[in-house]
């Protein structure tokens, strides 16, 4: 039996040799130069949470406006900005970045690596995301927020119908964000492919990591159509191009194809890693391994593939040929099969295990109920006649809130409760957690369930008010009350987080008895994560004596401690066989400089100053030049010189 004390002793033996190479600057300087995946991951989560609060408050204003018929809380113009920004922010600046934060923090820990494959790219991605989010959310303060709906249909969003800077903010903000997201996705894939701990062959990769990898592959293929669409729209609006202009040979439907070719995969880009969180939590609290692990992996991959063949179900009402409607209807029905496999895997794991309901698991159980309800209405939309009746009604709004709030926000909160101790070294309160769950669960259903009814009664989405004689006021009032309950529940979580950060109890290394490698590190982990790189012997390294023992046994093995500088271990792509150490870059201000080289021109273009944009864009090649300037040969020569200069054995 390997005791925690033995591992601690082994860790301490190597720590003093590792610490100097991995130390980063503190204070303001460290703020701008860090490349540590844990700090960057935390930043992603905090920044995304900030955008969640902003977009949530926007929704509260909308719900207040809709509480009764013919209310006058906000103007129609402001309401347009609110619903556009709410959707855009929640989809692009909260969900994906929040899950990128989890991925950034957890993926290297779960695969037993010391950092991501490209730490500086990681830092760069964060800065670009933060700049894009600042542009998007900040525009509301100047009354210049996007105002044409989060999927920006043309011709409405062409310049002559929607003048002003709002939709330019949308196009450029999303293009900027696209660069960050793509870089992050590539980083995740390469990390999972090349940096796994020895012995972690593909059939021992935790499901959360699989989910992030599939998500990343989807991003690699799905973001280009969105970026092309936004580039086209921006050129149409600002420079008089005619991509979507039917009077000059363009086509508005082209926008819809390009947007939804990204847009439907994006639903799974958001949901898959959230399902990965669920797959990480369920085994821990069922006290047994996940049922049908290979099937769940295959289901995750299959979902990713099929989701590229269903985008037209967002366009059933645009008058496309019957045959293509049938094809996409069938594809949309089939995509439910892999999702079903995942749901049944969790249910069977719970059934066959010994369920322990703590706060994270409570959120997962709530997720199961809500997500399945959203899935059922999703199947209804795959049926063409039903879709044509309810499209653009509140039924759609109800459906995607069940899927996205239920399928992403519930697991994210479950994940926060599950890993908070690892992230911060403090535990959240079990009692406040349970209270917040029940208040949110109630508030959520009271807010969003009546939207199904209102949709069937014919209430269209995106209206800033309605006439009293339509009889919608009662349900709307119920929804608004639900929204305030939801606000109270979510505020409880925020209070719990602030309270725990100030005086929460210290977190043990493995508070829940989890199975994956992040629980082998201290809470919070050291800069280098693992003093001794673990050797993995099963899918459940923390439940398996041989894997645990490797971390104590190998403390004298230089090939597992890698104390010769800031190093990580490159292992083979498929089998996780150790190949050689790779040097990781030290902290650097370059990611920030290059990100500024992208962000400054974007802001300048929005403000209509192309000259400033051109000049500030020069930062980009300059920064990239310094970034990629080859240094290895010179460093090697210098190291060889200093070895020759020192007398033999002097440094022993």
């Amino acid at each position: 039996m390997t005791t925690v004390e033995e591992r601690r002793a082994a860790d301490e033996a190597v720590e003093e040799r590792l610490a100097p190479a991995w130390e980063e600057s503190g204070g303001i300087r460290g703020w701008f130069t860090t490349v540590d995946h844990k700090k960057i991951g935390r930043r992603y989560m905090v920044t995304a949470a900030f955008f969640f609060v902003a977009a949530g408050l926007e929704a509260m204003v909308m719900r207040t406006q809709l509480a009764g018929a013919r209310l006058d809380v906000v103007s129609p113009e402001l309401y347009n900005q609110l619903f556009t920004l709410h959707g855009t922010t929640m989809i692009f600046f909260f969900s994906t970045p929040m899950l990128f934060g989890f991925g950034n923090y957890l993926m290297p820990l779960m695969i037993g690596a010391r950092d991501m494959a490209f730490p500086r790219l990681n830092a760069f991605g964060y800065w670009v995301f933060a700049a894009a989010g600042l542009l998007m959310t900040g525009s509301l303060l100047f009354g210049a927020a996007p105002n044409g709906g989060w999927f920006a249909y043309v011709p409405l969003n062409e310049e002559q119908y929607l003048p002003g800077v709002g939709m330019d903010v949308y196009c450029l903000g999303l293009l900027l964000l696209g660069i960050s997201t793509t870089g992050g996705a590539i980083n995740f894939i390469v990390t999972a492919l090349t940096m796994r701990a020895p012995g972690m062959s593909l059939n021992r990769v935790p499901l959360f990591v699989w989910a992030v990898v599939v998500q990343s592959f989807m991003i690699v293929f799905a973001l280009p159509p969105l970026n092309v669409a936004n580039l086209f729209l921006f050129l149409d609006r600002r420079y008089g191009f005619h991509f979507f202009d039917p009077s000059e040979g363009g086509d508005p439907i082209l926008w819809q194809h390009l947007f939804w070719l990204f847009g439907h995969p994006d639903v799974y880009i958001i949901v898959l890693p959230a399902l990965g969180i669920v797959s990480a939590i369920v085994p821990t609290f069922s006290r047994r391994p996940l049922a049908a692990y290979p099937l769940v992996v295959l289901a995750t991959v299959t979902t990713g593939v099929i989701s590229f063949g269903v985008w037209v179900h967002h366009m059933f009402a645009t008058g496309l040929p019957q045959l293509s409607l049938s094809f996409f209807s069938a594809a949309s029905l089939i995509v439910t099969v892999p999702s079903g496999i995942q749901v049944f895997s969790w249910l069977i794991t719970i059934m066959l295990g010994r369920l322990v309901v703590r706060t994270p698991m409570l959120w997962v159980l709530g997720f199961l109920v809500v997500f399945v309800a959203g899935g059922v209405t999703g199947v209804m939309f795959a049926v063409v006649p039903f879709d044509q009746q309810t499209t653009d009604s509140y039924f759609v709004v109800a459906h995607f809130h069940y899927v996205l709030f239920g399928g992403a926000v519930f697991p994210i909160i479950a994940g926060i409760y599950y890993w908070f101790g690892k992230f911060t070294g403090r535990m959240l309160s079990e009692r406040l957690g349970r209270w917040s769950f029940w208040v949110v669960f109630a508030g959520f259903n009271v807010t969003f369930f009546p939207m199904h009814v209102l949709g069937l009664l014919g209430m269209p989405r995106r209206v800033y008010t309605y006439e009293p004689e339509l009889g919608w006021a009662g349900w709307n009032l119920v929804e608004t009350i639900g929204a305030y309950v939801l606000l109270v529940g979510l505020s409880l979580i925020l209070y719990d987080i602030v309270r725990a950060l100030r005086r929460g109890p210290a977190a043990p290394d493995n508070p829940w008895g989890g199975e994956t490698l992040e629980w082998a590190t201290t809470s919070p982990p050291k800069e280098y994560n693992f003093p001794v790189v673990p050797t993995v012997h099963s899918l459940h390294p923390m439940w398996d004596e041989k894997s645990l023992a490797s971390m104590a046994r190998d403390r004298d093995d230089d090939e597992r401690t890698l104390t010769d500088g800031k190093q990580a271990l490159r292992t083979s792509d498929l089998d996780g066989v150790p190949e050689h150490p790779v040097a990781l870059p030290r902290e650097s201000v370059l990611p920030l400089v290059v990100a500024l080289g992208l962000a400054a021109p974007t802001f300048a273009l929005v403000l209509g100053a192309p000259l400033v944009a051109a000049v500030s864009a020069l930062l980009l090649p300059a920064g990239l030049f310094v970034w990629h300037w080859p240094r290895a040969a010179r460093q090697e020569a210098e190291a060889a010189r200093s070895r020759d200069a020192a007398p033999a054995g002097a440094d022993a």
């Binding site: 494959a117 590539i186 894939i189 280009p224 149409d236 000059e248 190949e579």
Partner: protein, 207 residues
């Protein structure tokens, strides 16, 4: 002799039956190119959508003539030819022949610049005589697609210039030359993408 056979015959490598030593940077470039090619695919898909679904029989639309081919053939020849010296440079530096690398990269840069010059001439002719991006959707697509590709060639030329400078400064050796291989991957892909653009925008437009 070269690094590759040693890596393949090494007992440890033979035992795990996988090619050893793909660098993270190599994989990173492969994935960046995958997403980049997907962007070109989206652009070309938009082009064919407008041509076949929206426009109908008259293509190019209005009184725009079919694109002339002479300059485009020259551009194609220049860009395809430019890949060979880069392969030569890559093999050269792997064997420690710095001169070969510098010569190969230098020739590639010249051919890339020549491509850009011919593209500039073609743009001047089109913009002054035939059509602009603001003329109609065809013009918008033509300049967006070829312009996006031209930007890729400019980035490639800049990256190759960095290699040239670094090579002259002795920063690229037979042990550290991943930058040549990875930039080559980018350059060859940009060349291959041009073949599709040439086929779609120039050749297929004659039909």
């Amino acid at each position: 002799m070269t690094a590759l056979p040693a890596a393949a015959t090494d007992p440890a490598a033979a035992a795990r039956e996988v090619p050893a030593g793909r660098r993270p940077g190599w994989w990173g470039m492969v994935l960046a190119l995958v997403t980049d090619v997907a962007a070109f695919a989206a652009l070309l898909a938009a082009y064919f959508y407008i041509r076949f679904v929206t426009a109908g029989d008259n293509w190019p639309p209005g009184d725009i003539a079919e694109p002339k081919l002479l300059k485009a053939w020259i551009m194609t020849a220049l860009l395809l030819a430019s890949s060979a010296p880069l392969v030569f440079a890559d093999h050269g530096i792997k064997n420690g022949r710095r001169g070969r690398m510098l010569a190969g990269v230098g020739v590639t840069v010249l051919l890339g610049v020549a491509f850009l010059v011919v593209q500039g001439l073609e743009y001047r002719e089109k913009l002054t005589v035939e059509f602009t991006p603001q003329t109609n959707a065809y013009g918008s697509l033509f300049f967006a697609i070829t312009g996006f590709h031209g930007l890729h060639v400019i980035v490639g030329v800049l990256a190759l210039l960095v290699i040239l400078v670094a090579g002259l400064a002795g920063r690229i050796t037979h042990r550290h030359h991943a930058i040549v291989r990875i930039t080559g991957l980018y350059w060859h892909t940009v060349g291959a993408v041009w073949v599709f653009i040439f086929g779609s925008l120039y050749l297929a437009a004659q039909l």
